[in-house]
């Protein structure tokens, strides 16, 4: 394992940042997550996760253009870092390897 751990919600946000590659900012990440998870998520939760991911070095951010919708404030776009990608890969590998160990069971 790497020295930083990843919470469940953090992992989801990180995945979403990776999926939206360079187009992801607070609101898009929120909406996409809500759609996938099929439940309401508070924007503040997304921000908390994003700040933590940035502190851990899994994502980096840049300011984007101004739009009318935001009352003149800039968007902050997030993009996954190499470290973040490695972290996701490691998580994925870990899960799949354990998943594969599950014997064939039938719940039929």
């Amino acid at each position: 394992m790497t020295q930083h751990s990843l919470g469940e919600f953090e992992e989801l946000v990180l995945l979403m940042v990776a999926a939206l590659h360079d187009e992801g900012y607070g609101v898009t990440i929120l909406e996409n997550l809500e759609e996938k998870l099929n439940k309401k998520v508070n924007i503040s939760a997304v921000h908390v996760a994003l700040k933590r991911l940035e502190d851990k070095g899994f994502v980096k951010s840049r300011f984007g253009g101004i739009t009318e919708d935001r009352g003149g404030r800039r968007k902050k776009f997030y993009v996954i870092t190499a470290l973040g990608k490695r972290m996701l890969d490691a998580q994925y590998e870990l899960r799949t390897s354990i998943y594969k160990q599950i014997p064939k069971i039938s719940f039929g």
């Binding site: 900012y25 607070g26 609101v27 929120l30 508070n42 924007i43 503040s44 939760a45 921000h47 908390v48 700040k51 933590r52 300011f63 919708d69 935001r70 009352g71 404030r73 800039r74 968007k75 902050k76």
Partner: protein, 861 residues
Amino acid sequence: MSPPKKALAFLRWFCREDYLEEIEGDLTEVFKKHYQISPHKAKWKFAWSVIRYFRPEFIKSFRNSYQPDSYGMYKSYFKVALRNLWRYKGYSFINIFGLSIGIAAALLISLWVQYQLSFDDFHVNKQRIVMVMKKTFFNNVKGTQTGIMLPLYDELKGNYPEVKHITRLDWGNWHGLNVGEKKMGGSGHFADPDFLKMFTFPLVKGNVDNVLKEPYSIVLTESLAVALFGEEDPIGKMILVDNAHNVTVTGILKDVPTNSSISFQFLLPYELNVLTSEFVRKAKDQWQNNFLQNFVELNDGVSATTFSDRIEMIERNKSGDKKASTLFVHPMERWHLYSRFEDWVNTGGAIESVRMFAIIGLLVLAIACINFMNLSTARSEKRAREVAIRKTIGSQRKQLIVQFLGESLIVTFIAFIISLPIIHLSLPALAGVGFENVQVEWNNISILSITLAGVILTGLIAGCYPALLLSRFTPVRVLKGPVHGGKSADLPRKILVVTQFTFSITLIISTIIVFRQIQHAKDRPLGYTPDNLISIYLSPDLLKNYQPLKNDLLATGYVEAISRASSPMTDIYNDWDGFTWEGKDPNSNPIFSAILVDYDYDITSGIRLKQGRFFSPEFVTDSTALMINEAAMKVMGFETAVGNVVKYWDAPMTVIGVYENVVMDDPFQPVGPAVMMLSSSFRVQGFIRIKDNVDLRKALAAIKPVVERYNPSSAFDYRFTDEEFAKKFSQANQTGQLAGIFTVLSVLISCLGMFGLASFMAERRTKEISIRKVMGASHLQLWKMLSRDFVVLVIISCFIALPTGYYFMNNWLQRYEYRTDISWWVFLVTGASALAITLLTVSVQTIKATLMNPVKSLRSE
């Protein structure tokens, strides 16, 4: 369609700047989307989201965002203040220690005062509850008493619509309470069902409408119930009262608070008293038999004064006696603090002690404040340079005043913190002098805020004078060379020292006189011998077997004599009128204390005969004989009393002897006229005189089984007469001891201040002393020179304090009929000891200064 302003402002206030734009932007975007669906919900959601950002990761660091200008200045003040405290540790100690003792004393006294003021405060109906009292006129003396007649209850209850609730109440007695084999007892009252409806003594179990209704029932307090029944539910259980009446427990009360004028462990229905006592039954129609209390809760809108007017004449109208006493009511708020009546006028009571101690507390605090002022101004030149530099840099006087006031607030606050453990440690030690029920309730917001306000006020008062003085320095003069800025403060400082010592010396005089007065009353001839005398209550069983009991007790060999009477040696139970004799002024109706006695009362109690003889079984005629005391002889105007006939109503009685006045009632009052009769009724007080020179413990061990043999229903219970007598002084002793403690404190604090001043003076005059020494001055001369200033101040204080003390204490003594004189030596001793203490305090410093090597201090220039 903009987001809620307040939420946004809040977000902007707390949120980190580097996150703010992103969060605000995202929030607004989300808000706008939600707004299309439901504007109302969107606003709530926005606000809720903002609140959710209020967490450590998003809150900006306020530490780095202060406004550096004004706050930094305060920081500098604070730092300088602490540095100064630290640098002059001795002065700081004197300042802070003196102030903390002063604050502790003042706080302790305010706690006590608050406790005294809280009496009966817990009754919800306190504004409407009154006690019925009566004004009497006997011996040309206007008296006031709480004892009233029994029929008044039915009269007030039935015919006076002003009365909402009314209860009778006896004086409260010890009653035996037996549960099965368990024998216990406690003090309780007989009361009517309304008692619990008008007074706020909440029931834990039982219904307020039912308890005390059925005559054979009882209501216990929680702690008594636990003592009697343990964990069991007491409701419905039987208790045998006084070994005679079976009653059922119908209710449990919360324990009576200590700040209650009425206190008891259990309540019995007054109807039980009526059913079981023939005396009470007979009193049903007696309008002039006063033996119980009545309490009334008035209806809304009825004032105590109007009700007093309404009931004033009841006794006269009912008894037909035009000279009978008049009735009035005393409101509950005045029961504890204003209980004393003089000539029918409600003149005071505990409120006087409350006022006296409040003043003492303020004085002690003032003395501590003066210390602070004096030491600050005396050392002002040490701070002169700092002031000058601050002014040069641009400080205004106002700012400097703020600085020095702030310093004194810091010192006061430190002193306050230190006073808290002092209070906590001294509270248990003060338990014996009236503080046993005083508690510190810091969780009470109002007490806490009043205390803090007091502390701040103290700091401001102590600090205002030094602040004004210190901020006055002109920079040019200070910076040019060394100044004696303190010179201008010399006179005020002297005045303050004189004030301090005037307070302290007055307190010393007052305390000495209070103790002298108590001792005076303790030392007065009592007219009997209280040592080795024990009294027991003669229960019906003991009365029946009195003769064998007496014989058996005498046979133990430890008992000198045994007798019985209607009242104990330390109290008067009966005041009778109706005595006539030859030559009596027909218009006067003097009242006599009456004691019904048995043979041997004289040798048992040790009363002293002046004329004639005591009752003796050898004279059959003694059943109509009378003993009188000296005061009675004076009232009757007899030259030789023996042989004279005195009529009690219609019965003629012959005086057979005169005895020395016996102090039974108030030891501070003269003994009133008293008579003794040989009578078999009411003699329930047994007296046992134990032989001199025997071991008391062995004697008691021998007496106990004898008494218990004849009185199997309860345990041997006895009182030492000398101890009972000493109890009469407990109130006075408490006052004296408390005054003594605070006097010592005030002297201590004054001396601390003087010690500090002396050390400062010695330091300031170091060079002068050295030069004088070089010139050949002796140690004694130097010591005299340095001490003189202080001695003069203390002598001036003496001249102010002695007459002041005389004036106040003379007034105080007028309260007591039997009082000590204020002799000159009290003043001499006080003055001399004040001087001695001063010299002792000052000499520590002056001797140190004179012993110094002059080379060391002169070398530096």
